[in-house]
Assembly symmetry: C2
Homo-oligomer: 357 residues x 2
């Protein structure tokens, strides 16, 4: 196999280790493991989860649910506030596939109870102060009204509450992640206390890679839905969710220009390959990815010397090298870029990826 242009590389062995790590934790804590497949969107990567006995998955769109249903998955949660325009697409999914939907408004819940022809589960999304979608836990009346509406319906099962603790992604330390998580557990306990008497079988489904990687207290949580951990990335490494060596994907990119006097290189790997997501370095500079030398096997990365991508345009990446890197790099070298946000990079590179055993 000869790689000549930007290519997304998945390191299977490391992915399986990452899966094993989270699987073991969910097993030890008797949690349902429902990994989010939006990160990899790949049937092949999905099979590695099946090898651990995983049967329940999460996706972020109806389109992705249809894809995985067609590929044999039988229990799929669409963890995005249901878009009422896609009712026909949901009703058309094979009857034997269990679909769980998400609502965060009475209006959408009412639409569903009136228009579903397929039996589905419904979660109410709770917003634990991340501020994206979901209903605040203080809006008890609204939550109760939606819960009643769903549970009285013949076509929908009220499954419980779904939470994405997205504010852990802006945490800068493990301690911050754990502090956010501890507060969230308080709210979860209160929610269960409020609703579990009336709705005995409801569960709490909880997400996010930082918490899944770092926390060890899941009291009140029944199901875990992290996704990013299968690949991890530099954002997770910065938060402390993983070590750099646990990042299981990279973009192989050719060097097209060296400005040796400036210690800079130009790579073919731009916003259409990496995305424009970045993290800030301690000095406040934007970091769009870290660049390393890689062995001919395309997966043994040499972490001792690096370049940092400080700018991306559509196809170009510009990186500043350390001294050793600048000395050694050659035009035509294929280098490994560790991505900032692997979900977005994997999505962009869907049609140009290789999996290494």
């Amino acid at each position: 196999m000869q790689i000549t242009r930007p290519t997304f590389v998945v390191n299977k062995k490391q992915c399986v280790q990452n899966i094993a790590k989270i699987y073991s934790k969910t097993f030890a804590h008797q949690l349902i493991f429902r990994p989010h497949f939006k990160t990899h969107q790949s049937q092949e990567v999905g099979k590695w989860f099946q090898d651990f006995g995983v049967e329940c998955i999460t996706v972020s769109s109806v389109e992705m649910a249809v894809f995985f249903a067609q590929n044999g998955w039988k229990d799929i949660t669409i963890a995005f506030p249901f878009n009422i325009l896609e009712i026909n697409a949901v009703n058309s999914i094979n009857a034997e596939v269990q679909i769980n939907l998400l609502v965060d408004s009475y209006e959408t819940a009412l639409f569903l109870t009136n228009n579903l022809t397929k039996k589905v589960g419904i979660f109410i999304e709770i917003d634990l102060f991340y501020g994206r979608s979901g209903i605040l836990p203080s809006e008890i009346t609204q939550i109760s009204e939606i819960a009643s509406l769903i549970s009285e319906s013949q076509i929908a099962d009220f499954k419980g509450f779904l939470i994405h603790a997205g504010n852990t992604y802006t945490a800068e330390t493990k301690a911050e992640v754990l502090a956010i998580h501890a507060k969230n557990l308080q709210h979860i306990k209160a929610l269960k206390l409020e609703f579990q008497q009336k709705y005995k079988d409801i569960i709490v489904s909880y997400g996010d890679t930082p918490t899944a990687s770092l926390a060890n207290d899941f009291e009140g949580i029944d199901e875990l839905r992290p996704g990013n951990f299968v690949y991890y990335d530099l954002m997770q490494q910065k938060i402390g969710s993983c070590f750099r060596t646990e990042i299981a994907c990279s973009v192989l990119a050719p060097v097209v220009r060296i400005k040796r006097e400036l210690g800079e290189i130009v790579l073919h790997s731009g916003a259409v390959h990496l995305s424009k997501d970045y993290i800030l370095s301690p000095d406040g500079a934007k970091n769009f990815g870290e660049v390393y030398f890689v062995a001919n096997d395309y997966k043994t990365i040499y972490y001792n010397s690096k370049a940092i991508i400080y700018s991306v345009s559509q196809e170009h990446a510009l990186a500043k090298c350390d001294a050793e890197f600048a000395k050694k790099v050659k035009i035509g070298d294929l280098l490994a870029i560790l991505p900032i946000h692997s979900c977005l990079t994997a999505n962009l590179m869907k049609n140009n990826q290789i999996i290494l055993a």
Copy 2:
């Protein structure tokens, strides 16, 4: 046609007007018009250029060159520093297709003269202080050495100099764009003075949408390569390259949640649809796109009331609405989002776009 999920909409009539505007300018100034096809990457949009007699195009990767060559285009410039690993792909392009490559190092030029088996044109990329790829105009010795090497080769034609005036994209006013352009014209004249005696047939190929849209002096320039103008976007509107009404594309996105008390909406249209590119509003807030009501024809946009996207995650967009907007918007509405950077949005939505006549 019923649209139910995020969809990229191309307004053909407006695109053709945008093409006509730049075509007329290149015609009036007797410039070769070699539009950049990286923006649309579409054979159908390409045909609208053919209707104006356009035969020469620009692309940003060997992959795109192969795609358009297979679709009948016969004169293609790959405006990216040549990646030596792709020599076989270039040598394999049909002999009757004229390919022009870009070099910005002696090393790559030497590799090409030694390894090309297909006759190609070669431009030397000049960096007029944008700081991406290209050789600074002060590096006369290096430029001369590369020019000699190419022109003495049997397999390559020395075509001249290629410049991307990318620093116009950070300009905030028309006056700034024109000031950057005026300085660039000085350097171009000096370059021609230096090299045109020895290399009589060389041309200067010049790019970027802001200059193509705003400038009226092209003395010393022979060829224009803008790309973005076919769609335009909010970044160009901010610079002053176009009016908002000239933006010829949008993302149709369904409303999934309304937080009326906060004047906020949640749309299904995230980083995998729009990209994470943003501009800054006058108050310093990030703007990932503007949201408008749209008629049932999906292209008549109502500009009188709007929401601004202040945050995107993988699939969600969060937008703040003006008062009228917040009053009128309903769950299940399909709204039109004007993108910040249409090249990245079009690339992400390649497989989910419709063209409206």
